[in-house]
């Protein structure tokens, strides 16, 4: 089903006319209210009035995650705090998480987009939605929640964790739609099997999975084990949260990106050149309806391509391919974004720990595990086993505290971790997504 027929099936010429109008409005707005953009436009010698066609967008400078960090926490907000009704943040070392804000209208916009997404995944007001995305600063849980309520469905705000209780809820409350990360959904399937509950007897018709990359193979596995239609959803908190794009049940071939709210571009990550439809590169997004935290040409670092061909579902919004990788070294571990450099700064803070470490990411029982291998240097080496164990525990506790990820710390002998020319091979990702 299509939630918003007028906008989701709008002919492309009309859609592009709306995009241009909204773009010009947001550019004037950020130029006037956000010092960062005023300065950036000034450096590029551009005024909002210079943008007369959609193609002129490419003359504007990019916005990067570092820009957001440099303006932490609220430096890039375009509205006064009295108008901001919600704040979300992604994990980061102290002082450096990415902070985003929403006005009441933004919350409503977000809810509308999520209602569209849930509809595309087969949900309607008669459905019961089991929402296992984490609630809190993370945009996943509340994003789905407000979308479900906007749609009129019955949402169960289970959040993450308490797996056995979730299985009982699924058995007793009989939800029809599942929203979770793909790896967690498989973990739920295993837990259910251990409890003697078969997904074949449960009532799910579809599941909407995202917050981490997952392959077609994984989709087959999820559909087979959970007896439901598995749909991909994409989003990032800097843009709005989940609800930037969604796969349709009818085609399951690319995610429709809500182009009446976001203008996508694909660029060559090294040169910044805009690439034509069909070519693979880094996704760049400009928000044209958000009030509190608009971003212009934000580099998502996600790799994909765009396809504007009409879709069998009837939606005219272009589809992006399932994200196939990133241009940076960010990891997603159980849905949490982790940069190796964050682990490095934590290690530097622990006394005597040398910067020779390696991250091993694996998937055991469907859940991601992170092992941090740390070389035991002369300064770090205590003759007493308990002191060494304490160092390992301290590192793990700091990682949990700052990043929200549970890591196993393994102390290894010096020179065990390969030194490579130039960039050290910091991360070994053994997961087969």
């Amino acid at each position: 089903m299509i939630y918003d027929i007028e906008y989701e099936t709008m002919p492309r010429e009309a859609l592009e006319a709306i995009q241009l109008k909204r773009l010009q409005t947001v550019l004037s707005k950020v130029y006037a209210t956000v010092p960062f953009y005023r300065k950036k436009f000034g450096e590029a010698a551009i005024l909002p009035g210079d943008i007369k066609r959609l193609e002129d967008l490419r003359s504007l400078p990019f916005t990067t995650k570092q820009d957001l960090r440099d303006n932490y926490p609220f430096g890039m907000f375009a509205m006064p705090m009295e108008s901001v009704v919600r704040i979300h943040a992604s994990s980061g070392t102290t002082g450096q998480p990415t902070v985003v804000g929403y006005t009441a209208r933004d919350i409503n916009t977000w809810a509308q987009l999520m209602a569209r997404a849930l509809s595309a995944g087969g949900a309607s007001r008669g459905d019961i939605i089991h929402n296992a995305y984490g609630y809190g600063l993370f945009t996943g849980g509340l994003g789905v929640h407000y979308g479900a309520e906007k749609l009129g469905a019955s949402v169960i705000p289970v959040s993450g964790g308490n797996t056995r209780r979730q299985v009982t809820i699924m058995k007793d409350f009989k939800p029809t739609i599942l929203t979770a990360t793909p790896s967690y959904s498989l973990h739920l399937a295993e837990a259910a099997e251990e409890m003697g509950v078969s997904f074949a007897d449960l009532h799910f018709k579809s599941g909407i999975f995202g917050a981490e990359p997952w392959s077609e193979d994984m989709r087959q596995e999820i559909e087979r084990k959970l007896h439901l239609n598995a749909i991909d959803i994409y989003g990032l908190s800097e843009i709005i949260g989940p609800g930037v794009s969604i796969e349709c049940l009818e085609a399951k071939n690319g995610l429709h990106l809500f182009e009446d709210h976001f203008i996508p571009e694909i660029i060559d990550p090294d040169t910044g050149e805009v690439l034509p439809y069909g070519e693979t590169g880094e996704l760049v997004i400009t928000t044209i309806t958000k009030e509190a935290f608009p971003v212009i040409r934000y580099r998502t670092r996600d790799i994909t391509s765009l396809n504007p061909e009409p879709c069998v579902c009837g939606r005219t919004h272009a589809r992006m391919k399932k994200v196939s990788g990133r241009t940076d070294d960010m990891l997603i571990i159980r849905g949490v974004n982790v940069f190796p450099s964050q682990i490095e700064s934590i290690l530097m803070q622990v006394e005597g720990v040398a910067p020779h470490y390696q991250l091993i990411v694996e998937r055991e029982d469907k859940l991601d595990t992170l092992t941090v291998m740390v070389e035991v240097s002369e300064q770090m080496f205590s003759d007493e086993v308990k002191a060494l164990q304490r160092t390992g525990d301290t590192i793990a506790a700091e990682i949990k505290d700052y990043l929200g990820v549970t890591a196993k710390v393994k102390l290894v002998e010096p020179k065990t971790i390969q030194r490579s020319e130039g960039k050290a091979a910091r991360v070994i990702d053994k997961r087969k997504i």
């Binding site: 080496f381 205590s382 003759d383 007493e384 086993v385 060494l388 164990q389 393994k410 010096p414």
Partner: protein, 143 residues
């Protein structure tokens, strides 16, 4: 009055200890006492050797993380109650024993225990006050 022990960090994988003994053997170093403390991931190998500097250098060159740790070698009456007597003395003075292990050679008619104390100076004082023999490091290595 204290003795030096060589402590070596070892990962829990096959052959590591034999790598150590190989290096020491090549360097002409004789091991007098040995203890191995282990966890699931790593171990700490503790050695009393006859040539401390040589051992430390050879092991470091071999890529091992090594530390010299001060320990106390105590003469224990080689009869039932010998060790108990010593531990009672330490208990009365509230001194904590981090770990201990036996030394292969005897000293006269006494057995020798290697102790790691959290307060080595106080431990030596307390023991000597109670007529317990503390063996000097220099003497220990070549017993």
């Amino acid at each position: 009055m204290q003795a030096e022990q060589i402590s070596i960090f070892l990962e829990n994988r096959a052959g590591r200890i034999s790598d150590v003994t190989g290096i020491l053997s090549d360097a002409g170093v004789n091991i007098r006492a040995l203890a191995l403390a282990d966890t699931s991931d790593f171990g700490v190998l503790r050695l009393i050797v006859d040539k401390n500097e040589k051992a430390e250098q050879a092991l470091k060159n071999g890529g091992f993380t090594v530390r010299k740790t001060p320990v106390v070698a105590v003469g224990v009456d080689d009869r039932p109650g010998g060790l108990h007597n010593i531990l009672e003395i330490l208990k009365k003075t509230g001194i904590n024993v981090e770990y201990m292990y036996a030394f292969i050679q005897q000293s006269g008619n006494k057995a020798i225990m290697i102790f790691k104390f959290d307060q080595p100076e106080q431990a030596i004082n307390a023991l000597e006050k109670n007529q317990v023999t503390v063996i000097n490091g220099v003497d220990l290595y070549t017993l």
